[in-house]
Amino acid sequence: MRLKGFNFFNPSSMTSDAVEAAKKAGASRRDFLRSAGILMVGFSVAAKAPRLMAQSSPIAPAGTVDATQVDSWIAVGADESITCYTGKVELGQGMRTVQYQLIAEELSVPMSRINLIMGVTGICPDQGTTSGSQSTITEFSPGGLRQALDTARDALMQLASEELDTPVSGLSVTNGVVWVTADPTQSISYGNLVYGRRFNLTLNANTVPKDPATWTVLGTSVPRVDIPAKATGSFTYVQNVRVPGMLHGKVVRPQTIGAHVVSIDSSSLNGMPGNPQVVQVNDFVGVVADSEWHAINAVGALNVTWSTGATLPAQSSLFSYIQSQPSADSYTVNSGDVPTQLAAAAKTFKAQYLHPYQMHGSIGSSCAVADVRGGTGKNASIKIWSSTQGPYPQRDSVSTLLGIPNSNVQVFFTDGSGCYGLNGADNVCYDAALMSQAVGAPVRVQYTRRDEMAGYGENYGPPYIVNLQAGVDKNGTIITWDYEGWSVTLGNRPSATAPNNIPTGVLAGYGPAPGATPTTTPTAPGATFSNGSNVVCNYVTGLGGNGTTGGTGTVASQRALSHTITSPFFTGPLRSPARLQNTFANESFMDEMAAALKVDPIQFRLKHLSDPRLIAVLNGVAQAANWDTRPSPKPGNASTGVVTGRGVSCVLYEGNNGYCAMVAEVSVDQGTGIITVTNMYASQDSGPISNPNGMRNQMEGGAMQGMSRALYEQVSWNNRAGIVTSEDWVSYPVYQFGYFLPQMTTVLINNPEQPSKGSGECTITLVGSAIANAVFDATGVRMRQIPFTPATFMAAKGAGQTSSLATPVHDRV
């Protein structure tokens, strides 16, 4: 791709010294990674140096990539290709495409020239996990991909300025070609400027990103780059990875939760096809065979004797069990005056909200391929193909698990089924690694549905109990808000020091998973207000320990006390972890008070909010939903038959990560208890919008998944049998095709002057409360426990759960 009118370097005219210099300058990125930036000629001094070498493909070196170096992120090929390296991976949320857009925007290159390498350890920067609605934020913030791109762009412009003898201010860029604005015939392409050399530059903290107001690629609904291949079946998911000599492994899990291996009768596999081999590492048991079907049949035949398992609480008494256990306690806020304010209030309110264990339940059961060579120790090595959210954390924890130095472990991120958090992706990688190490061949493991769901596959989202109290003055203004919550923990994301955070790490002998460490007195609030778990409602000032405030509301008297106990089951982050459960409680309670005070629920919220952006999303959704301003419940609805209603909810996700408001409209069949969501409206402000269609897609999927979690989902178990009984899609029902399909309206509020925020977890956070509030509006029945099944609705209606807690528990008017 050479441009007319430009004199190209002729290698035959070089001196031998110049050839050597060019070789060094054009050395592959692999050498850069190995040499850690020692050898190379600096970009500015090499501006006029001969160009020779094409960009060669990077090959994995040992160790970790230096993310402060531009070359760790970007390579400009002599063929005009732009190769970028990122630690933020594609989970079905569109991060691949957004990063293509970012590269195209900041470098002014066409997307078709970009190649993006995601989540390969030793090649891509270590950006931790792709989680928590942090990926866009990370890449757009200092130290991320955007700063690397902008540093590179500045260098390219400087180089072009020297080549074209024109100040940078007199240059323009189109499609990777820099041209003299006053004379477009004078131009040079990036490829010819760089010619395969590397930048040898540190990320410049002072570089200026493109103003979102001038975006032409970002900010537009660029179609997802991966969808054509996925729609035509040609995309390689991790479940499709096949490597030469690969065998298939299947896991054999404890018969009951917490059971240990007593004995294994390997002779039970004698004569079975596929040369099945048993692998045991403490309580980890697997079978490897030449095909998946042979491995499945071998697992069915294998005779393993297990000890008695752990004692589980009865599901029916889970919430009282949680409240009876020693707990780790902490305050998020505590103004100290809540008891006196409650005592002084004209009216007080009190209610309890309950949330069950739920699971990620990825539709494609988790899968990994591991190829361990050389057993264990410093001469062994391993390659892993995994859909993990955290390639480097996985590298480091597998290193611990197998006793192989992390410099000899390479993880190749490969797209999987949507994960929504800590699904089984890391765990199944352990399974594959243990089996590959034992049999000395590459092993692919894909879970059965039961492996995935029934207690030893993924880390569940935890249950919650939230007790709320509030006091209002005689004008119906909230004067104090009190939160007390209980949840559970066991394990978390795996790390180098904690392979026991996930099930297979425990089975393999790395000790019990860490639970809660009980405290004697609650820890104090942090100096500055932090609401990462949305413990604190929208309507208080958000009081930090140093006296400053950081919340979105106006109520000064506030307390939030959280208790965490050790879970009987593995837990971990599930989309909107804790935020969803807490917001269900806070936003339902707000609605209960509005109803008791006979005030419109949106007006009641607006009255207590101070943050203009939260007010704006609330007004935005009210307008989209054509909100009928009046108190709930809806006047004139019959107490029998099918009735309709609407509910609202809003949140500043994580206290700083996206403003969102939602209205849900429902119909409720009061004869059967079936709740049908007919419409959902969501309004969201996540700062500058990178991809409007992608943002809508996330908002829609989050809303629909949230509806599934609110109406259908809970993990069930049988404590007498010692087993999780949610083992498939019949015993863990979710929303499915054929059910009523709601209409969904999304309102995007673009805020280019603000920092980028996440978009993937906002709507899901609001659905439970929006539906509960709509059900109350329709029927006067208050749903305080997720999921809202027909049976729980009928029970609540039968119990007269209409007003007993929605009316003041204490009234001094």
Binding site: A229, A231, R242, E292, G418, Q446, Q705
Partner: protein
């Protein structure tokens, strides 16, 4: 177990496979013997639809269909409909509507929708939704997938 030979037509091409267990699910034969990536393992129980293929034009769950019951039949996977460079109109409809998140479940909605709309060219949204009953999409991209199928139905009517 002595291997038996099974012949079947896959995406228009005659194939012969050697399989030792006649109860081997068709899904594994498609994945391992024929190296296809479209049909995927989701549950192995016929509950989700990720493994859907067309058998003589009718959608079936290949995870619970034995190779012995598939032999002699014509199998179509989503690869058999079109390619990235030349997508089938139903695939183009999914692309146009950006109708997926992870896309893992796609064989179910696409092939059940394809089969139903072939037989019911003027299918309505409600009929298409009903035809997909029981299929799962865990990213909950249902609205867009139905929009894609309605688009395809309208374009082919």
């Amino acid at each position: 177990m002595a291997a038996a030979t099974y012949s079947l037509t896959v995406n228009g091409t005659a194939q012969t496979v050697e399989i030792d267990d006649p109860s081997t699910p068709l899904l594994y034969v498609l994945q391992e013997n024929l190296q296809l990536k479209g049909p995927k393992f989701g549950c192995g129980l016929g509950q989700c639809g990720c493994c859907t293929v067309l058998l003589d034009g009718e959608p079936i769950r290949s995870c619970i269909t034995a190779i012995s019951d598939s032999a002699g039949h014509s199998i179509t996977t989503i690869e058999g409909l079109g390619t990235v460079d030349n997508p089938h109109p139903i695939q183009q409809a999914f692309i146009t509507e950006q109708a997926m998140h992870c896309g893992y479940c796609l064989s179910g909605p696409m092939l059940y929708g394809y089969s139903f709309i072939q037989q019911n060219p003027n299918a309505t949204q409600a009929e298409i939704l009903n035809a997909l009953s029981g299929l799962l999409c865990r990213c909950h991209s249902h609205i867009r997938m139905i929009n894609a199928l309605v688009r395809y139905a309208q374009e082919t009517a």
